[in-house]
């Protein structure tokens, strides 16, 4: 069973780069000191954490004091929303977000609604883009926070973040963005883009799992998320995940320094995949915006078939991908993102996401399309929906 694995699910998680692992290893053993202790071995760990924080701050054009390490994207999202609600709840109780956010945002918003907050979930257009004028119209005197993702995890659409930031600040409203998918795939400048808070995660950028950060602009009065020691400027207590932080910084450094080269490679393979699928597979529809699109995202719906069966068949060929079908989410409804861009349920069930990295090759892309064609043909041959469609049109 020595089958070659073709991994096209980098939006789910990525393997740790060898250089990243190498940077982390000493901090498990000889450099194990607690950064808060007084002796010299700890001074070394402390400095390493300080340097890592500076490295990460530099990747989004801010300073180290604004970077707060967390356990990952979901924690960062939870923190940003809940702490803003708590700190600014007296000023107002209205939050604006979108219908295509990650569940870490949507379910936190539902929780806040139970606590008496009001949430506006903005619609998006058929490509998944938020309309800035609609966002502006939704702002009320009691709006305290706008949270719009930088780029969507399923369909790869990059939102007009700079424009949203400008609108938010013109109205004196805080702006948070979930940049888990966009971080290091797209240049981010939190100053120029008027971002007050931003979530990111290491394991999406070839860093380790279990570490992320929340950028909080200086002056935003957010309280402690975890009470205890003085770590993370007292806002998130607990001994630092030192190895995670070191690995995250290394991964962020590599990804940022080589962004042009990495995303250039991804874009070429992405465009090749899109072109071949559109040309060679009938009744396929590209989801997400063609231009404002993450360099590593390909997302299609194939009519008359269901996503889970497609994934199992692809897995049989050694191809790892994902789908927004109900069966992959454990519920009866397909992806909320695909429904929000206006797809009917039965079409949303047949979605496929291929997410790339700089290591994805053209040969792999060709192998995937060749096999995908067979899989789709096979499943359509089994589908009563396809049978009806053919009979109706013959």
């Amino acid at each position: 069973m020595d089958k070659k694995i073709i991994y096209m699910d980098n939006a789910a998680t990525t393997p740790v780069r060898p250089e990243v692992l190498e940077a982390m290893l000493p901090y498990f053993t000889e450099k194990f000191g607690n950064p808060s202790s007084i002796y010299s071995i700890s001074a070394e760990t402390k400095k390493a954490v300080t340097d890592a924080r500076e490295t990460i701050a530099g990747t989004i054009h801010t300073t180290a004091e604004n970077i707060y390490f967390t356990a990952g994207g979901s924690e960062s999202d939870n923190w940003a929303l809940k702490a803003t609600a708590e700190a600014y709840g007296e000023k107002g109780r209205h939050i604006i977000t979108t219908k295509i956010e990650h569940h870490a945002i949507l379910h936190t918003c539902e929780y806040l609604e139970q606590k008496g907050f009001e949430v506006t979930y903005l619609d998006v257009d058929e490509n998944g883009l938020v309309r800035p004028e609609e966002l502006e119209a939704a702002i009320r005197p009691d709006t305290i926070l706008i949270s719009v993702m930088f780029a969507n995890n399923e369909i790869g659409t990059i939102e007009p973040v700079a424009e949203i930031g400008r609108i938010a600040h013109e109205h004196g409203v805080l702006f948070h963005t979930d940049a888990v998918q966009a971080y290091t795939q797209v240049p981010i400048d939190v100053e120029a883009m008027n971002i007050d808070m931003m979530s990111a995660s290491a394991h999406k950028i070839h860093g380790p799992k279990g570490i992320g950060f929340l950028y909080i602009r200086k002056g935003v009065k957010i309280r402690s998320f975890v009470h205890g020691g003085a770590q993370e400027r007292r806002r998130r207590a607990g001994t630092e995940n030192v190895t995670g932080i070191i690995g995250f910084a290394k991964a962020a450094e590599i990804a940022t320094k080589n962004m042009e080269e990495i995303t250039g490679k991804e874009r070429r393979v992405r465009d090749h995949l899109i072109e071949r699928i559109e040309k060679e597979i009938p009744y396929a529809k590209l989801n997400g915006d063609r231009e404002q699109r993450l360099p590593n995202n390909v997302n299609f719906c194939f009519r008359f078939i269901e996503g889970e069966s497609m994934l199992i068949m692809l897995d049989g060929k050694g191809i790892c991908a994902s789908s927004g079908s109900a069966c992959t989410s454990g519920s009866l409804d397909p992806s909320h993102v695909l429904l929000a861009i206006g797809l009917p349920h039965e079409i949303a069930h047949g979605s496929l996401r291929l997410s790339l990295s700089d290591e994805t090759t053209m040969e792999e892309a060709d192998f995937v399309v060749d096999n995908l064609k067979q899989v789709i043909e096979r499943l359509r041959g089994m589908s009563p929906l396809y049978e009806d469609f053919v009979k109706k049109n013959s």
Binding site: E306, E308, S309, C327, L332, E346, G381, M382, S383, P384
Partner: protein, 145 residues
């Protein structure tokens, strides 16, 4: 997540296809929920199911349960086929994950629906067969989290 038998029936489905001028055809499910099954039955004058074929739009379990259901009813009389329950389909597949149990219900319902069609076409009444539901999800409740 799936047993070997489920994987086998998904990857090598038995009796996949159509039967022209079938004695009975039943389609159940809902494309909204992501699964539709269609069963074709060829029944002889002694009410024995000579042949059975299916087409399914759905997940791995939906395909596997359809495939197994056709195997279970083939060669049986109409009355015997009526006794093929979703449980029997599940057991024959060595079990299904809890979230996929509805696929086996759909398979049972698809057989009933095809039998109903056969009975209607021939103006006969099959003892114990009730008018099948087309959508088995109607009674499912959403889980809380």
């Amino acid at each position: 997540m799936y047993t070997e038998k489920v994987m086998d029936h998904f990857q090598n489905p038995r009796n996949m296809g159509e039967i022209e001028n079938a004695s009975g055809v039943g389609t159940v499910g809902n494309p909204k929920c992501g699964d539709i099954m269609r069963m074709y039955l060829d029944i002889d004058e002694n009410q024995v199911i000579r042949d059975c074929k299916f087409k399914t739009f759905g997940c791995g379990a939906a395909v596997a349960t359809s495939s197994m259901a056709t195997e279970l009813v083939k060669g049986k009389t109409v009355e015997e086929a009526l006794k093929v329950t979703n449980k029997a389909v599940m057991e024959a597949l060595d079990g299904l994950p809890p979230v996929k149990v509805h696929c086996s219900l759909l398979a049972e319902e698809a057989i009933h629906s095809a039998l109903w069609d056969y009975a209607e076409k021939n103006g006969i009444k099959i003892e114990g067969l009730e008018k099948p539901k087309t959508d088995i999800h109607e009674e499912e409740e959403e889980e809380d989290y």
